[in-house]
Amino acid sequence: MMTPDADNKANIQSTHSSSVAGVGSRITELFFNKIHEKWRSIVVAIPFIWLLVFFLAPFFIVFKISIAESLIASPPFSSLFDWTEEGVITVRVIFDSFLYLVEDELYLDTYLTSIRISSISTLICLLLGYPIAYAIIKSPDTTRHILLLMVILPFWTSFLLRVYAWMGLLADQGTINDLLIWLGIIDKPIRLLYSHFAVYVGIVYTYIPFMILPLYANMEKLDMTLHEAAADLGAKPMSTFFTVTLPLTLPGIIAGSLLVFIPATGEYVIPDLLGGGNVSMIGKVLYNEFNANHDWPVASAVAIALLLALVVPMMIYQHVQSKEGVS
């Protein structure tokens, strides 16, 4: 009978023979290991320093403003630390801005609207992007490169320009309405621009490459013989998809969804230009607080709350994932 030990035996033999190799090679090996270790910590340190300087520091500045008081001054908020006349430091922490967010229903509503719009957009991006990524993987080499290029191509023109182009397409006297009237499908323009619909179109259009690219990268590693193996074992195409393809592309789905969901939630330009006054998302509220109301503490509180709303679920997810990985 086959013994599981046979493999182990082979391993023992091979380690044995390598120990015969000279001491010199052992030293060089150690040397390279050292460099390798150092190098690794340097490589890991760079993004950490980057995050520290460009993310954590601004975050604390914003946090500091959010617990200050709004003033008509420059800068338009009270300082955190004050020197009294006796030379003692006093710290003034004011949570008014956060309380204000909770008290005024406008903010909660806008948060929920933002999350709803970005969730639905993410889902649409996934439903459209998944088959596109899969089709790109399945196409022959030359076509694949062209298709991939077409996914990235929109990035070569300005984002603003592309949103304005959509305004031209969706307007009452825009291309789409003109075309529909000319075809006789409708007889007076329908409302496309300045609606939720327009915002969805804009977000899905803008963010779908961020869904397709991680999915593509994930699917590229997918071993297609697994599909054949599943078919061979009696799985119909649908069943193969749900039992093999989907679980194995889950990392790509999660990466793509986060890359769409997070920026879409804070999106400002698209709801402003395509949604007009009819769609209020949190990015727009933030903008108004800063620029129209000059209420920096409330604006900062809005930003911090948004961050928490996005980061906390992600951290819970990460935690669950790593727990699953261990067991």
Binding site: M1, M2, A6, D7, T225, A231, L233, G234
Partner: protein, 397 residues
């Protein structure tokens, strides 16, 4: 080997042909290939092959890399459609039958285990797709895992297993569905030599117990010889010869096959006479006259090659009593000592030339130990080679 209690159909054919159904004119082939061709663009990977495989056979497709073995197997599994021709399995044309409805299972060259599933779920996968009852799935998976001795590894993921263990998971996964035909693509290449030999016998045992028809693709002629009831030798998308291991080894039809399976000595010659039961052939190179027992159709003067396997030649330092056929004289050029036997390379004396002639390979079992590092027949000894007329074959191509 654990006891194996599946209610499997075991062959109970009462005729003399039980183990050799291909000789039985009334036997119904289980798998039939008729004029099967596969083209990839302008390249023809498989060229109009015909083949009959019978129930319970362990059939090998043997050939070098790129000769079309995998392509043929993939057409049987349904992953490639033949460009022309038809494949019948159990009497049914398979042209429009998708892989998931064919009564065959395949063990992939790369094993293709599902990386996100445990060993257990991998093996259970096929049964779940068939909607087998939960309790029965558990039972059959357990039985299969204990058969391949992987019960302790049921909860592991494929990446936590060694190559040999993965190979056994792949085998279990394919066999648990009780297919009528199991297709194996180079099942043993990833294993080291010891494990490979063990597994060969294991495969034969399993095949014998279950009565499943095995079709094994391999490029290893030794493996094909050990495993198979019959072998099809493939080259450039065609079958060169189909036969039992003995037929292919002892009666190769072409020089190519003779060379491909084992080693062989080939002497060019011309037919001197050819009557009912023996043929005489004069060597082109040496003064030797060959005698062959098995008669091939050949005109007088026809050119052919006399092929003799190294182990069929007897070697002696003393000259034969009388001059006869199948006798050549030469000098020991080289000895390869393998322990159980030695391979001698003998340089032939050439007609009227001082230069050495071609080399002939002779294998000799080492029945006596070499004494003081000296072989019974040693380097530069003059030796006389001879063989029985029945031991050689005439090849025309």
């Amino acid at each position: 080997m654990t006891i194996f209690g599946f209610g499997w159909e075991i062959m109970t054919n009462e005729t003399n042909y039980q183990d050799r159904q291909w000789l039985d004119p009334d036997a119904e082939p289980f798998i039939q290939l008729r004029g099967v061709t596969k083209q990839f663009g302008s390249f023809t990977a498989v060229k109009g092959v015909d083949l009959d495989i019978y129930k319970g056979e362990l059939f090998s497709l043997l050939g070098g890399s790129g000769c079309g073995k995998t392509t043929l197997l993939r057409m049987l599994a349904g992953f490639e459609t033949p460009t022309s021709g038809t494949i019948y399995i159990d009497g049914m044309a398979m042209n429009d039958v998708p892989p998931y409805e064919r009564p065959v299972n395949m063990m992939f060259q790369s094993y293709a285990l599902f990386p996100h599933m445990t060993v257990e779920s991998n093996v259970a996968y096929g049964l779940k797709r068939d909607g087998v009852k939960k309790s029965e799935i558990a039972e059959r998976v357990d039985a299969m895992l204990s058969m391949v001795e992987l019960s302790d590894f049921a909860k592991r993921k494929p990446h936590q297993l060694s190559g040999g263990q993965r190979q056994r998971v792949a085998l279990a996964r394919a066999l648990v569905k009780r297919p009528k035909v199991l297709l194996l693509d180079e099942p043993l290449v990833a294993l080291d030599k010891r494990l490979r030999e063990q597994t060969q016998f294991e495969l034969m045992n399993i095949q014998d117990k279950l009565g499943v028809t095995f079709i094994v693709v391999t490029h290893d002629q030794e493996e094909a010889m050990t495993l198979s009831t019959r072998i099809a030798v493939m080259d450039q998308g065609q079958f060169m010869q189909i036969g039992t291991p003995t037929e292919i080894y002892e009666y190769p039809e072409t020089k190519l096959i003779a060379n491909f399976i084992g080693s062989v000595n080939m002497f060019e010659g011309r037919v001197v006479s050819n009557d009912d039961d023996h043929m005489l052939v004069d060597s082109v190179e040496t003064a030797c006259r060959f005698e062959l027992g098995a008669v091939a159709k050949a005109e007088k003067g026809a050119k052919l090659w006399v092929a003799v396997r190294p182990e069929k030649i007897s070697m002696s330092t003393t000259a034969p009593q009388s001059v006869g056929t199948n006798q050549i004289k030469g000098t020991v050029h080289d000895i390869g000592y393998l322990g159980n036997m030695s391979i001698y390379r003998i340089q032939l004396d050439q007609n009227g030339s001082s230069e050495g002639g071609s080399l002939v390979e002779v294998t000799v079992p080492n029945q006596v130990r070499p004494k003081d590092g000296k072989h019974a027949i040693d380097w530069d000894d003059e030796v006389y080679l001879s063989w029985h007329p029945e031991s050689s074959v005439a090849l025309f191509r």
